[in-house]
Subunit: 709 residues, 2 copies
């Protein structure tokens, strides 16, 4: 699209030169015109006579508004007249508006009165833009009007937004139906509205000094989308660009850190109970095969390993240095690591920004930058990378290998991850503590795990994203290949910042995370258990080939709850075709319900479950199965589990793989059966109808976001 | 309030006599006037001259509308003129409307043209009423306009509604802020609006033949609430009243059934694997102390108990008869039970309505009614009542005694309840299967458990309520004394019935359950796990004395997630008073955060946790505590658990009891610690920050509903 950047630059330069923080309406319209954002016909009258002439040329009715850099809220100043019906009224209106404005603010500089084509009909919407500390420029869309403000029904996307992003915004508000034409009104021109949104998003991206922007209202109708009022707030103060190494450098450093050939333990100790002792033991007992170099000022050897006074004394290369020394000594030891060209420092020590010692943290960050040593932490438990049998942490060793890479910002949540993983026998590739995130953060991990063949799913807990923009850009790419699941804590609204636009006032921090995650294909976990359940089950499920989900249940009651959960998790229950209905009915009693859920009824032998599941796996119209088991004497839990695994394996041998999850209702033996199913590739849950469906829903959400469905 | 019932009766009689299914506008207004529902000044003109005169008397502008029993949708027929500005236009308008109406429907009976005061300004709202199959008359409230229809932002209450109910409706819509005055508009007259809602709710309750009603729009402003348009749909077909025994009879029968002195097992068997054998064994091995009478056509004794051919042959009284015979023999045996004056039949057999055998079910219902034998089921697993060591079921015995009474409509869900209860060591007073609910249903159970001293909390799973009105009436009373938790399955929208009003079209079945549960103080569980978690924890928590919740956490990360969960569960984090802040700071490191959450930081010894918890329990401004534990070497999980129990017990000895829940983040040992805490009265959860807060939230929701807060 043609963008007249010079035009915008000229306007902004003039605003800057005048020391103003916002644009006048005519300036705003010039800027809009330059980016193909439709605005009404209009002009500025310097006198009543000019208003008369201008209004007659535009046609009636017109709207008249004061033009003054000193009056931001025009209506309150009596500076707006709507529905002016003829040229004489326009002339009189000019005088009224100017008089009101002077009364409102005697010294206001009055540049004239804007006379504008009055727009009516269609749907009033708001399009805007804000600048977020973490995500940078965002474009916003919502319906206009007071009610929508009350409901906060507004949606955000990273700017610049694609046409596809913009169209998704139209469907991304609660009141989306309004745009499709209700009660006989005609649907709006979606393409025109999307074009306008894209224009705004490109404008604010091209000109970072545009801090906030409101097009409010935009009249959207079947004939197009025209912005009736433009408000642009600027901020010419230069923003410090974030430090961000090139991706190739990130990757090569992260590979050395996560898969080191040699690890130094700074502050290694032979004394039980010391952190430096626990780290040594975990490295050794964890089975790490690389070199281990304990660093200690005096010791000759620690736990059988030759010790060194400094990393600089170590003969070979060191990739990763795990720090187990008090915080005040970190900077010095880090500089030595820098001289030794260590790739990364795992900073277990605390006592930095988390306790208000910001200067101390800035110091180590500066040392790291100077020597190009990447920092993990400080204030962390360390990390595990199971493919290398690497437990670079003072917590207990962890050895259930698998394909999930987890990380946490908080140590407590990290411990919960470790405990749950062990308890639920969840195989992990890595568990990483990020702590204060002075340097390495979520996007660095994404870059490493993206290419790590041992990792199939990435699950992260975070309280904030230091650089949401960087995260989003990497996550958008990575999530196309591997599911990225994030538990974003801290949803309680923080003190809202003073905003100078409606869009700004409506921009809740959490809503932005919500929308950006969706935009870049990140699955948002709603709770810690969800994060853990999704991490455990999602990598195990094959990718579905379509949206048709079928429930096969022995318990009618479970079927109803499973169907509810499908609605909650945006899964589509396939309407059962007649021939398939008949085929299912062959296996089930006459009073069983085929349809969907397929209710095979409770008193059935194992073979009924198996036949129904085999049919479900074989029929190509069905893309995923949800099983509901009911504990009976005829089909005890382990019998059910074994026969389902048989069916699953038989089909897999024939090349048929579909996601399948199970809900088990019964006495305590169902726990063992659930574990058996899980160990054989079928996520299964005792006493829950909602978790199995939620994990399937997460897999679907990922597959849709990655464009695989 | 004065209600002119005679006036309404007269109107309805006329409508019935005319064979009409809806009221004309003037009829609707007469009905409204009779119930104090404000409507605009108006009159009906029979000629253009009358319209001229009437309009002049009312004042301008006026609205004019066709009056015809044959035209329901007046706007579509060209039968409405708004904003008529003077008397001449009113005269012309009369002719236009009549001409349009005749064009629309040549044979329409035209009664005249209504001339009405035109209302403007304020907030347009809709007030209506519907008749629900299960709940009967419901009154509805929402904002007017298309957007609200799209968002389905409407709320329901059982009619008649109290003024308090009506006021809660104004706060019960998403867009509630709109009524409080936004962007400088004035708040509406809440009392006037509530009065109008109450009027509608009483009208439809007093006159059941009013099937649906719409006041749309109602203009609500600071000056009052006036219904601008009235639509009333009537249905004179008599509704069959539901069978409902007197409450005293329900209670005396339920007491005999649940706490029987003697139980007969019809179809008792000595043969392993038979249902009649399992029931006998469960009764005997469960430790039931009353008389057990096996009924069998031939056997002399079964499992050491003298057998009888029929219940009629048993010498003493029988309270409860458990049926373990094929469905087709139930009716006959039931009649014998009737003659024997058995209080209740526990109908395990299936093969009734659930497989389409409705006649068979109707037959047993008729027999039960005839002899006054209450029926549990058919198609159930039976029931447990642990205070009497009674396992009247073919499932495995259950013996963990406690204070939760659970029930399920579905057998599968019942098995999940048993399994979870056993696994989580949840103490229960009863588990009851309701199955087809041919007779005994949720409200019968409520009536029994209300007075049962062994039951503190009632948790029920249901797919429907056969008589929602009866349930609601009982639940409203019982929930004031004991928490009632319900998992209502089947939220997927069923085929919407054809509705003749806006209110009807907006009345989603699930929304009605949601609102009525709230109205009568029932806690709605959102999932099976929620039902089970709430049932397990809520009875253990003392009732809070106020809304001030404080989080005390060793893990900052857990604190953030716990605070999020407080927002989700509508709990109020107390703003920390300065003196209390200082008091907490005495126990925690200088960099720890007092405030709320109180972050004692991770590396603290057990005494720090204990001191903080003691302070939290002792200070009267704090009403509930949420603990976040972080597994460290200094304070291992069981050490934490023991010290918290100590603090809890010390305070209880001093008469201080506050609800306290815990979230445990750590390695697998936290599971044992969580169980220990639970067993000592503190609901605690490993690897979850959301479940502890959700159960506390459920307790608060109950306490608020019961008027205890």
């Amino acid at each position: 699209m043609n963008r007249d950047k010079a035009q915008v630059r000229q306007v902004l330069d003039a605003v800057k030169a005048a020391g103003r923080a916002s644009l006048t309406a005519p300036e705003g319209e010039r800027v809009c015109n330059a980016y193909g954002i439709a605005v009404p016909q209009e002009g500025v009258a310097a006198s009543a006579a000019e208003a008369h002439q201008l209004a007659a040329a535009i046609g009636f009715p017109v709207v008249m508004k004061i033009v003054s850099p000193d009056i931001l809220h025009k209506t309150e100043a009596g500076g707006v007249l709507v529905g002016v019906k003829n040229a004489d009224d326009a002339a009189k209106g000019f005088d009224t508006i100017v008089a009101n404005a002077k009364k409102h603010k005697a010294d206001a500089q009055i540049l004239g009165v804007q006379v504008q084509q009055m727009l009516r009909g269609g749907q009033e919407v708001i399009v805007g833009a804000v600048t977020d500390d973490s995500f940078g420029k965002l474009v916003a869309f919502g319906l206009g009007g007071v009610l929508v403000e009350v409901l906060k029904d507004i949606t955000f996307r990273l700017a610049p937004a694609t046409t596809e992003d913009a169209l998704s915004m139209l469907d991304g508000i609660q009141a989306a139906e309004m745009l499709k034409g209700v009660r006989g009104s005609e649907p709006v021109d979606r393409e025109a509205l999307a074009k306008l949104i894209v224009g705004v998003s490109e404008l604010v991206s091209d000109f970072p000094e545009i801090a906030e922007m409101d097009l409010n209202p935009v009249f959207a109708s079947k004939d197009g989308a025209i912005a009736a009022d433009v408000r642009i707030v600027v901020d010419f103060a230069a923003r410090k660009p974030r430090y961000r190494p090139a991706e190739a450098d990130v990757l090569s450093a992260m590979k050395r850190i996560m898969q080191p050939k040699a690890v130094a333990v700074i502050g290694a100790s032979a004394e039980d109970g010391k952190i430096g002792n626990s780290v040594m033991k975990n490295l050794i007992n964890g089975g790490y095969k690389g070199n281990i170099y304990p660093i200690h000022p005096k010791a000759g050897e620690i736990l059988g390993y030759k010790a060194f006074k400094s990393v600089k004394d170590v003969p070979g290369e060191i990739d990763t240095a795990v720090f187990a020394i008090p915080g005040e000594f970190v900077a010095g030891a880090l500089a030595e690591c820098g001289e030794k060209k260590v790739a990364g420092a795992v900073l277990i020590p605390s006592g930095f920004a988390e306790v208000g010692q910001h200067a101390m943290q800035e110091e180590i960050v500066a040392v790291g930058r100077k020597y190009n040593v990447r920092l993990m932490g400080p204030n962390i438990y360390g990390f595990y990378y199971t493919p290398a049998n690497l437990c670079a942490t003072f917590c207990t060793a962890y050895d259930v290998k698998g394909s999930v890479a987890l990380s946490s910002q908080s140590g407590g949540i990290g411990m919960a991850i470790i405990g749950y993983s062990r308890s639920a026998k969840m195989g992990v590739s890595a568990i990483v503590g990020l702590g204060n995130k002075s340097d390495i953060d979520e996007d660095d991990l994404l870059i490493f795990f993206e290419q790590d063949p041992n990792t199939k799913v990435i699950a992260q807990h975070c309280e904030d994203l230091k650089d949401g923009r960087a995260f989003a850009e990497v996550a958008r790419r990575v999530s196309k290949k591997k599911p990225v699941i994030v538990l974003k804590a801290g949803r309680t609204p923080a003190g809202a910042k003073a905003a100078r636009s409606h869009t700004g006032a409506l921009a809740g921090n959490d809503k932005i995370y919500e929308d950006v995650f969706k935009q870049v294909g990140v699955i948002r976990a709603r709770s810690l258990r969800d994060l853990l359940d999704f991490a455990r089950a999602v990598p195990m499920l094959p990718t579905p080939k379509g949206e048709n989900v079928v429930i096969i249940t022995g318990a009618g009651g479970s079927g109803v709850l499973l169907a509810d959960a499908c609605v909650d998790n945006k899964l589509s229950l396939m309407p059962m075709p007649d021939d398939l209905d008949k085929a299912f009915r062959k296996f089930i009693p006459p009073f069983g319900a085929a349809g969907n859920p397929v209710d095979i009824t409770g008193g059935q032998p194992p073979q009924t479950y198996k036949n129904a599941v085999l049919l479900g796996l074989q029929d190509e119209r069905i893309h995923a199965l949800i099983l509901g088991y009911w504990h009976t004497i005829i089909t005890p839990p382990m019998t059910f589990a074994r026969i389902i695994v048989e069916a699953h394996d038989e089909m897999r041998a024939k090349g048929i793989e579909k996601p399948m999850v199970a809900s088990l209702a019964g006495d305590v033996e169902v726990e063992e059966a659930a574990q058996y199913l899980y160990e054989h590739g079928i996520p299964a849950y005792a006493y829950s109808t909602e978790i199995p469906v939620a994990v399937l829903g997460a897999k679907y959400q990922w597959a849709r976001g990655a464009g695989l469905l």
